[in-house]
């Protein structure tokens, strides 16, 4: 049985660190932080932990339906999405994930772009 990325990088304890680090980055960036102005930190961390864990093949299931619902009224722009993806890539880099694993996780995220970016 081949291990998922989630398992290979140390399971939930690693994901939690990635989430914290990514969370800091998107709140610090002037491009992405306006979208989090009114969000509750607890809910946000909860969503991101589940989302990132599922992108890495972990036990959490995060459906596209769910993804679309939570982003629907936020009016996420293409630019903000790209910025967030870049920062996510940097976060994974900082955790010394291998390039092909990073690519795989990013592919998972990119394939869900339509559920995150608002339709104009």
């Amino acid at each position: 049985m081949s291990q998922t990325i989630f398992e290979r990088y140390g399971g939930f304890s690693s994901v939690s660190k990635i989430v914290m680090s990514f969370y800091e980055k998107i709140l610090a960036s002037p491009v992405t932080n306006p979208f989090f102005a009114n969000s509750d930190m607890k809910t946000l961390i909860d969503h991101q932990t589940k989302f990132i864990a599922s992108m890495m093949g972990g036990p959490a299931s995060y459906t596209n339906d769910h993804l679309e619902r939570v982003h629907a009224r936020l009016g996420i722009t293409e630019a903000a999405f790209i910025e967030a993806v870049e920062m996510f890539e940097e976060t994974l880099e900082d955790f010394d994930m291998q390039d092909d694993d990073i690519e795989q996780v990013l592919d998972e995220v990119m394939s869900r772009k339509n559920f995150i970016v608002s339709k104009s």
Partner: protein, 358 residues
């Protein structure tokens, strides 16, 4: 950032006070040139945590372990923060330090501010979380394995679709299968004396034989329903209907006989079986609550049992119903009419062999 206007209170700190303030901060801060990473200013904590090795002019890169120059440059030039974690010796123990680099301001993009914090407390919380999540992940894995094991055991006593139904609804509705063929096999010639002489060895042999039978039934999409003592019952046509139910069972029966013949020629102990086959409707259902077993019922099952009883050692007996279904593909010999209790006069056949495909 908000700059406090202290002038109203009539106090303006002078340069020395500001310097002292910077030096006394609990964080480590430094100002570095992006070009060549030359340290132009550092406070006491920064110097304490990351002292220059030998030369006081050591650039930053030589002082910070784990610092990735390429990442730092690319992030800072994009106006982002570059952060990483490192360790330092302080007070005789090593302490985790988080380091963040960013450009001082838009006006002076070639000057980089470095801010370092002791994150021992955060690390403790992380280790605690890590230890706890390892425990729960291990438990989750064990639970998953246990579930798979239980599932495998249940699949041994009932067909998969029946198991799925039970898992989803908690019960299984008895179901009528109009087109099915039942096989019953029993061993003959083993007297009570044989069994009492060496029961262990006999059961072991029987176990070997039934394992092979299970593989044969599996190969032709038949289900083993149950074994009772040295009798073996298999069925085709349920839980998934198939037009080939009679053919499947005929193939299984012939292969069972062939296996026993081959086994007898290689072993001291000879086994002889009788096989009976009947085609007809059966009801399949899970029986029992705590100790459940999947079983089949109906006159079709009884008749299959009669076919087995009336069969002969190392022979397969079937009646008109099955014969009509398979006669084009299998060679059978007529046995004539027999009076079967509860079923009247029936025309019986021996199943001999499968005809080669033309």
């Amino acid at each position: 950032m908000v700059e406090a206007d202290l002038s109203e209170s009539g106090y303006t700190p002078d340069r020395d006070t500001l310097r002292q303030l910077t030096q006394s901060l609990g964080v480590g801060i430094a100002l570095v040139k992006l070009e060549g990473w030359e340290v132009v200013f550092e406070n006491a904590n920064f110097f304490k945590w990351f002292p220059p090795n030998s030369d006081a002019d050591d650039p930053l890169t030589a002082r910070l372990v784990g610092f990735r120059e390429d990442r730092a440059i690319s992030r800072i030039q994009k106006g982002r923060i570059y952060g990483f974690e490192t360790e330092t010796e302080t007070g005789g123990r090593s302490a985790p330090i988080s380091v963040e680099l960013r450009s001082l301001s838009d006006e002076s993009p070639d000057l980089v501010v470095i801010e370092c914090r002791d994150i021992s407390k955060q690390k403790q919380a992380e280790y605690m979380l890590e230890s706890y999540s390892k425990i729960s992940e291990k438990n989750a894995r064990e639970l998953e394995r246990e579930k798979e094991r239980a599932e495998k055991l249940l699949l041994n006593i009932m067909p998969k679709s029946v198991y799925e139904e039970m898992k989803d609804y908690g019960t299984v509705t008895p179901q009528l299968f109009t087109e099915a063929t039942i096989l019953l096999l029993d061993f003959v010639g083993h007297t009570e004396k044989d069994i009492s002489r060496d029961p262990g060895a006999l059961v072991t042999e029987l176990n070997d034989i039934f394992n092979v039978f299970d593989r044969i039934t599996g190969m032709f999409d038949c289900e083993r329903i149950r074994t009772v003592g040295d009798s073996y019952m298999a069925v085709s046509g349920l839980p998934d209907a198939t037009p080939d139910h009679a053919h499947n069972i005929a193939k299984v029966a012939l292969r069972m006989l062939r296996y026993i013949e081959r086994r007898n020629s290689a072993h001291l102990e000879s086994w002889h079986c009788r096989i009976g086959i009947n085609s007809g409707p059966v009801v399949g259902s899970l029986v029992g609550v705590q100790k459940y077993v999947y079983d089949i019922f109906g006159p079709g099952v009884n008749l299959a049992s009669r076919m087995e009883t009336i069969s002969e050692p190392m022979k397969i007996t079937l009646n008109e119903d099955t014969y009509q279904l398979i006669k084009d593909d299998f060679e059978c010999t007529e046995r004539g009419e027999f009076e079967i209790k509860g079923f009247g006069e029936l025309n019986l056949y021996f199943l001999e062999r499968e005809l080669p495909h033309i």
